[in-house]
């Protein structure tokens, strides 16, 4: 068979194969699509359908309030809110002004919307406005009457939801009140989320304060011992101490780079070595590829402090701390190991579980906090992994994704 004919045949076969494969694929896709359609559009009554659609529209609006009562969110939610109410127009106001107007009359009524909300914002009760309160020069405009319902977070009136129409039916009043109540519930959820973030931030501040007292005292005492015998070393240590405190007490974002965090760990270890001398051996094994990774600020230093204070300080004779950062493709693995006295696993388990408010001060103050913050940022499968037994040393490790949405180091 000549090369040319072989070429031909190979090509012919593949065009056919390609056609068959694409035909099979399209059939599979079509079947899947039909099945899905059937599942969603199956046998439902009109009433059921109305319920589903209302619930669906409501859930679309709910997403927009996840950041609280914002202009952007309100604008995007407005359309859905108006669909649910079936009114001519809908306005969302906060205490300062109009956040969104959706529907008819946007051009000439937007500026009055905040004034319409006044009574409701003061009383915290639903208010109905009639023809007298709503003057409109345009004969075709459907904005003639309004229902204003309050939006609450907890017990505080934070804004209003206003429905406009040619006239107001008792049904619309009821619907607006209920919808305002439902939006308030969404705002409460958003507030709870913010509350949790604030709690985490408070914890981070607490952690900053926690590392200081013992360490500050010990470091200064160690530095003082060098002032006469080795003034040059004392000076260097003081500068390290200054840099360490600047990093640990900084006011900035919640994230830093692995390079900065490790640099701070090094300062910490220099100061601890001044105190422990030959008793404290340290190795760092760092893959340079992972140094630019962003991770929560003070995620490693507490683990090292835990290894030194609880693992090695109690040990007789020299001890060794090893810090490893490995490249694992789309993640980095960070390990802090010591050959100190170790701990009973249950104690560590309790320290991790009790976080953040763990009341066991002896062990692992930092562990629970670091664990909680890692889980909050990256999800539950990125918490600390602790391997330990009495007398066997301790190995604490965690994995950090190289990219995670919303994690950006700030200097």
């Amino acid at each position: 068979m000549s090369g040319h004919r072989l070429r031909r045949m190979v090509r012919g076969v593949h065009l056919q194969t390609a056609l068959v494969v694409s035909a099979v694929w399209s059939t599979v896709l079509l079947l899947w699509f039909l099945r899905r359609r059937q599942r969603t559009r199956g046998m439902v009554t009109e009433a059921d359908r109305a319920t589903y659609e209302t619930l669906h529209t409501a859930s679309l609006a709910a997403v927009e309030f996840r950041d609280g009562l914002t202009e952007h969110g309100s604008e995007r939610a407005g359309r859905h809110l108006r669909t649910v109410l079936g009114s001519s127009a809908v306005a969302v106001c906060d205490r300062i002004g109009v956040l969104a107007w959706e529907g008819a009359g946007a051009d000439h009524h937007v500026r009055q919307a905040r004034a319409h909300a006044d009574t409701c914002l003061e009383s915290g009760r639903t208010v109905v406005l009639g023809q007298r309160d709503l003057t409109c020069p345009e004969p075709d405009c459907p904005v003639r009457a309004a229902v204003v319902s309050p939006l609450l977070t907890g017990d505080v009136v934070v804004g209003t939801l206003t429905a406009y129409g040619p006239q107001i039916s008792p049904g619309l009043v009821r619907a607006t009140e209920e919808l305002a109540g439902w939006v308030s519930a969404q705002l409460d959820v958003a507030e709870a989320g913010r509350e949790r973030t604030r709690a985490m931030e408070a914890e981070l501040r607490a952690l900053r304060a926690q590392i200081s007292p013992h360490f500050v005292y010990n470091s200064l005492a160690a530095i003082a011992s060098f002032v006469r015998t080795d003034p040059e070393r004392a000076r260097e240590l003081l500068l390290e101490f200054a840099d360490f405190t600047r990093y640990a007490l900084r006011r900035g974002g919640a994230f830093t780079t692995l390079a900065d965090e490790l640099r701070n760990v090094e300062r910490y270890l220099v100061l601890e070595q001044a105190r422990f001398g030959e008793r404290l051996g340290v190795s760092l094994l760092i893959a340079p590829e992972v140094l630019p990774i962003s991770l929560p600020y003070l995620a490693i230093q507490p683990l090292v402090e835990n290894a030194v204070r609880h693992g090695l300080a109690a040990k007789v004779g020299p001890g060794h701390v090893t810090i490893t950062a490995r490249d694992r493709g789309s993640e980095a693995e960070i390990v802090v190991e010591d050959d100190g006295v170790g701990a009973v696993p249950e104690v560590i388990q309790r320290a991790l579980d009790n976080a953040p408010g763990g009341d066991d001060p002896s062990a692992s103050v930092g562990l629970g906090n670091v664990d909680a913050r890692l889980r909050q940022v990256y999800g539950d499968d990125h918490g600390l992994v602790v391997e330990t037994a009495p007398g066997e040393g301790m190995r604490v490790s965690f994995r950090v994704p190289k990219y995670s949405p919303n994690v950006h180091a700030s200097p």
Partner: protein
């Protein structure tokens, strides 16, 4: 011309790669007591690593083969491979680094805050990676066949096995030092024989190159076979210039730079290193024309680099040079294939496999196992394809991979970095339009082509019409859907464009 020496060299390169992979973790660590964190990867070393991974079979064998076969027009290929980094440098290098993205889907998610765009990008990364791997494996088969007489499927299989073992075992993942050494290895392997061959050429009385046809040395001659030389030239150049930024294994390396400024410095070094390498490859084509005006029947033009030494100097010198070049070519297959497989496997694992695997096994499979399965998928599919479809020529197929990248990721990246009005719907429309049109054109060309006339040219060189089409789709749909501008656009763009030096420290 079959001999043991090149085979021994290839075996040595494969064993060396496996060995370095096994011991690689030690190389990747810096062991010291203190102040290790200051030792970030320097721009120069990172540039060597990028170049080492980037210089593929297309550069090592394909460019010389194309110039030898078709004419001096094909010099646009090395120009395009390098110009891609100039475009990358000017338009996106620093902002991409500042985005914090590790892969292209990461960037899509960071910029557009949409899981849909992320998934679309993942699919495209896998498609481009597979398309790029295809000619590497075909080239490996070709090279091994040339030097040892083994059937064509053996070479591809050797590369497949070495890469899978290496990547799945955890070595070679992204060890900058190893990839940086690869560049210097390849440069030595291509430049030293080139100097020797030029000396041989002088010694032989400077025989002049014999063009296969009168237009060989003319502008437009090489692309002239299609009858639309000007269009083909521009389309090739556009694909290579814009495609580089959309290759899956390029962005991953930029992550290693500490900041945007270093990302730019790295890119400048890459341009210099690539330029240096591409000085040597056309030499082989021209010397080939002088020493070996007619290929033995059944030989592909892509083997000219391997054929030349023995044609120029039969005997031990030729054997040794052929062995060095064969080793260098295999180093090129292995390093590019590893880089691609790591990137593609990472995306398959993270975006396509992990959730499904977790559902099937009930969270039993560890993340390492997922990555191993993904590695298998990432390389077995292109290997199967390399056995099924007929080789189009290494550099041509690589050009098609660049075309798909240019029609999909280039609009997404450039508009994403520079245009505030980009919406999720617009970006999705651009990816779909560019992706579907470019993959259709490429698929038809690979499976059923080449075709004649304008249709054939448009299908074989899709970048010049697919890319503008994708840009138009992105811009028009974005303008029509202003409500879908991602909420964090302004914040993201500020982060992408603020130089690190102005941030308070």
């Amino acid at each position: 011309m079959i001999s043991e020496l090149p085979v021994a060299m290839i075996t040595l390169v494969c064993l060396l790669t496996l060995g370095v992979g096994a011991y690689g973790l030690r190389l990747s660590r810096h062991t010291s007591d203190f102040y290790v964190a200051g030792r970030a990867v320097s721009p120069r070393r990172n540039a060597s690593a990028i170049s080492g991974e980037y210089l593929s079979a297309a550069s090592f064998l394909g460019v010389a083969g194309l110039v030898y076969d078709k004419g001096l027009d094909m010099l646009w290929f090395p120009v395009g491979y390098t110009v891609g980094y100039v475009v990358l440098l000017v338009l996106v290098a620093a902002p991409l680094r500042r985005s914090g993205a590790y892969t292209l889907p990461d960037f899509a998610e960071a910029r557009l805050e949409s899981q849909l765009i992320r998934r679309l990008s993942s699919l495209l990364v896998v498609a481009i990676g597979w398309l790029y791997l295809l000619p590497q494996l075909q080239g490996a088969g070709l090279a091994l066949q040339r030097v040892s007489g083994a059937p064509a499927w053996v070479g591809g299989l050797v590369v497949t096995v070495v890469v899978v073992v290496n990547v799945a075992a955890g070595g070679m993942r992204s060890i900058t030092l190893v990839q940086a050494m690869q560049y210097w290895l390849k440069l030595t392997a291509i430049s030293v024989p080139a100097f020797v061959l030029v000396a041989v050429w002088f010694h032989a009385g400077r025989p002049s190159p014999q063009p296969p046809n009168p237009t060989w040395a003319e502008p437009g001659g090489g692309f002239g076979a299609s009858g639309h030389a000007l269009y083909s030239t521009w389309s090739t150049l556009l694909a290579l210039a814009l495609g580089t930024m959309g290759l899956p294994h390029v962005l991953v390396r930029f992550y290693t730079n500490p900041d945007g400024r270093d990302a730019r410095r790295t890119t400048v070094s890459v341009i210099a290193l690539l330029g240096l390498f591409y000085v040597f490859t056309p030499l082989y084509a021209v010397l080939g024309r002088a020493f070996l005006p007619h290929l033995a029947p059944g030989d592909q033009p892509d083997t000219i680099v391997l054929n030349l030494p023995l044609a120029a100097s039969p005997g031990t010198l030729g054997q040794v040079l052929a062995a060095v070049l064969a080793g260098g070519a295999f180093a090129a297959f292995l390093s590019t294939a590893s880089g691609l497989v790591v990137s593609v496997a990472g995306v398959i694992d993270q975006d396509l496999l992990r959730r499904r695997l977790a559902r099937v096994t009930g969270n039993d499979a560890s993340s390492i196992n997922g990555f191993r399965i993904a590695t298998g998928l990432a390389v077995v599919v292109p290997y199967a394809a390399s056995r099924l479809v007929e080789p189009l020529g290494i550099a041509t197929t690589v050009g098609l991979a660049f075309a798909v990248a240019a029609a999909t990721f280039a609009p997404l990246l450039v508009l994403g970095v520079w245009w505030r009005g980009l919406t999720t719907v617009g970006a999705a429309a651009g990816l779909v339009v560019g992706g579907v049109s470019a993959t259709l054109a490429v698929g038809l060309t690979i499976l059923a082509g080449p075709f004649d006339g304008w249709a054939g040219v448009l299908l074989a060189q899709p970048a010049a019409w697919c890319t503008p089409l994708a840009v138009a789709a992105t811009v028009i749909v974005s303008l029509a859907t202003p409500r879908h501008i991602p909420a964090g656009t302004v914040r993201t763009l500020i982060r992408l464009h603020t130089p690190e030096s102005v941030l308070p420290s």
